[in-house]
């Protein structure tokens, strides 16, 4: 039995006057999936999220949530909840009433909804904060409240709009782990918007890479990293050396665009291509090395224990043929 489709986009476009924020997107998100929408700012990923939430309506195409067409369905009639980028906690309500808001709207009595809100706060490890106001909480705590406020409604799809963007690095890494564990535990479909490729790679089951209102590639993190279908994906997801057809020809390789990850370039004693080492920067576990080979600049990540020659001298480099990924086009 196949898992049902949670969210389906068919040729969806959203135009703001002349700007095509979302342009003919096809997308299918499975139930229980942790799905990331990755792309630079203005690539249409947030608009796609807002289309699912119902804050935007498609200019063309159609959207289904669990098999139901949702064009023209207002946000408050969708079994979808959102964790906002700025958390959007109600400043005049305390934490407990913030979390219980959705249940209060649904008409649940005070005792039951406060009990449910307490449970949701326990789920995000915020027991004992019920009486405080949002202004009295730290950024990380507010983020958890926003999460609890969405989850307490038992949504079929949880939308997260760059929820970790405002947190510092340590907290962000910790929340990444917690979000992932929470998603596994609850089994709810998570749709996560981010511009941070590291975040998408570490958390998501599948990633859609957006650029200029279109989806460039949808794949698992491993496939996206190992087999980018275009220079854009190769560069946006991790860093990559995008090799031009002319360069490929100069090495006697297929005359196509190709991607080569910096960590896949090895420094060898003999038998490699003879490149010139331009500069290096020390990264701790590795050296980031700038090379030039047949006029093509290359970047390599060389483990710290591999000895390197002086700058501006010759160095032998090689790679496994399987690590060189041919791509469709530039």
């Amino acid at each position: 039995m196949t898992t049902p489709t949670a969210v389906l986009f068919e040729q969806v476009s959203r135009h703001f006057d002349q700007v095509k924020a979302v342009d003919g997107v096809n997308l299918s998100i499975q139930e229980g999936e942790f799905f990331a929408m990755l792309g630079p700012s203005g690539s249409g990923k947030t608009t796609c999220l807002r289309l699912i939430a119902g804050f935007e309506q498609p200019s063309a195409g159609h959207i289904e949530i669990f098999g139901e067409r949702v064009e023209g369905v207002p946000p408050y009639r969708r079994q979808v909840n959102t964790v906002f980028q700025d958390y959007a906690l109600f400043p005049h309500l305390n934490i407990l009433d913030n979390v219980a808001y959705g249940l209060m709207i649904r008409g649940m009595d005070k005792k039951a909804r406060h009990q449910a809100a307490e449970n949701a706060l326990a789920l995000v490890e915020l027991k004992g904060f019920s009486r405080r106001k949002p202004a009295q909480l730290s950024g990380g705590q507010r983020q958890r409240v926003a999460l609890a406020r969405a989850l307490v409604n038992q949504p079929k799809v949880l939308l997260l709009d760059e929820p970790l963007g405002a947190l510092d690095l340590k907290l962000r890494e910790q929340m990444q782990e917690e979000l992932k564990a929470l998603q596994k535990q609850l089994g709810i479909t998570f749709v996560f918007v981010t511009h941070d490729q590291g975040e998408a790679l570490s958390m998501a089951d599948r990633i859609a890479v957006f650029n200029q209102g279109k989806i460039i590639q949808v794949d698992t993190p491993q496939a996206l990293y190992r087999h980018p279908n275009s220079p854009f994906v190769a560069n946006f997801v991790g860093s990559s050396n995008v090799l031009s057809p002319i360069f490929m020809q100069s090495l006697g390789l297929p005359v196509r665009w190709a991607s080569l990850r910096p960590e896949d370039i090895q420094v060898v004693q003999t038998g490699g291509y003879s490149a010139t080492l331009l500069s290096r920067s020390y990264m701790g576990s590795a050296n980031r090395v700038q090379l030039i080979l047949n006029d093509q600049p290359l970047q390599a990540l060389v483990p710290h224990h591999i000895p390197l020659p002086a700058d501006h001298s010759s160095v032998q480099i090689a790679w496994q043929p399987s690590n060189l990924h041919l791509m469709e086009s530039a």
Binding site: P75, T82, Q85, D86, F90, H92, Y101
Partner: protein, 312 residues
């Protein structure tokens, strides 16, 4: 030799600014002396004098003020004729405030959420423009609009709706021989004149509500009405209260509008004007003036108890 510190220029001005930089407290005192004197002596001082006057009384035979502490003047406020004036004024102020709030909300909401660029500028000009012209000119203009020979009557007649207007004018209390001599006229002009004082603070409060809060409310299942009731209204309440302080207290104290437009029945402002002028009863005028202060105090206390300032 290079030095980190720029060399002293020993001009007087430079020495003064050095001195002030080293003595921030003196700067603060220098800045506050005038406003504190103004507020403390001229403003609060005259208010205190007023309060004191209200505890004196007038000698009915000589018409002179008796400088003895008494509550007699306050008792006079509760004479049916005076109590009528107070109740009439408070009721009018309350109705004007409620009407202003209802009118102001959609205007302020539109200006906050939808008006951009030129439209926002037009909004501000539209709200402020009536405040730039003379208060008396506006009121007399309204007298012409509302008069029996006025444009409003003409409009109703040309639309063959004069029957409707006459039915309304025949109603007790709100009616009269024409709109310009009815309570309805007084009410309309009060609302017109004080409306900007409601719109501006309300708009400032709405401006501070991020649109993501309204989206979050909809996201959590709330219809537009529920979002208004549970999110927008509580967050706009400080602005509404600030606006209502203006409309309420300005209506309580005004004596010109009811003088020019409305029935001949008195409002508090007119009573004060008459008592301190023609009647020469300064203590009673002072006691009347205390009434709006007490009412505003009670109003703010009630608003605070109702949690109107929780969102601040």
């Amino acid at each position: 030799m290079n030095t980190l510190v720029t060399p002293h220029t020993y001009s007087r001005l430079a020495r003064l600014s050095d001195y002030l930089w080293h003595h921030p407290k003196q700067v603060l005192i220098a800045m506050l002396v005038l406003p504190v004197l103004w507020l403390g002596v001229v403003y609060l001082g005259s208010l205190a004098t007023l309060l004191i006057q209200s505890f004196f009384s007038i000698d009915e035979f000589s018409g002179l003020i008796k400088h003895e502490w008494t509550l007699k003047t306050y008792q006079e406020l509760f004479v049916p004729a005076n109590l009528d004036i107070i109740l009439r004024t408070v009721l009018m102020a309350a109705l004007v405030t409620i009407a202003s709030a209802i009118l102001a909300f959609p205007i302020a909401y539109y200006a906050t959420r939808y008006a951009k660029g030129v439209w926002k500028a037009l909004f501000y000009i539209g709200i402020m423009l009536p405040l730039w012209s003379s208060y008396l000119v506006k009121i007399y203009a309204w007298k012409l609009i509302l008069a029996r020979e006025g444009i409003l009557n003409w409009l109703f007649t040309s639309l063959h709706l004069d029957g409707l207007l006459n039915v309304y004018l025949a109603l007790p209390v709100v009616g009269g021989s024409s709109l310009s001599v009815s309570y309805t006229g007084t009410f309309l002009v009060f609302v017109y004149v004080w409306l900007p004082f409601m719109i501006l603070p309300l708009q400032a409060a709405l401006e501070r509500v991020p649109s993501s809060l309204l989206e979050a409310s909809a996201d959590l299942g709330a219809s537009a009405w529920q979002t208004f009731r549970h999110v927008l209204l509580p967050l706009a309440l400080p602005g509404l209260i600030a606006g209502s302080i203006f409309t309420f207290s300005l209506t309580l104290g005004d004596y010109i509008i009811p003088q020019i437009i409305g029935s001949s029945r008195l409002f508090i402002g007119q009573a004060v004007y008459m008592q301190q002028g023609t009647a020469g009863n300064i203590p009673l005028a002072a006691a009347f003036s205390v009434v709006p202060i007490v009412i505003m105090g009670i109003y703010l206390w009630l608003a605070k108890r109702a949690g109107a300032f929780n969102a601040l």
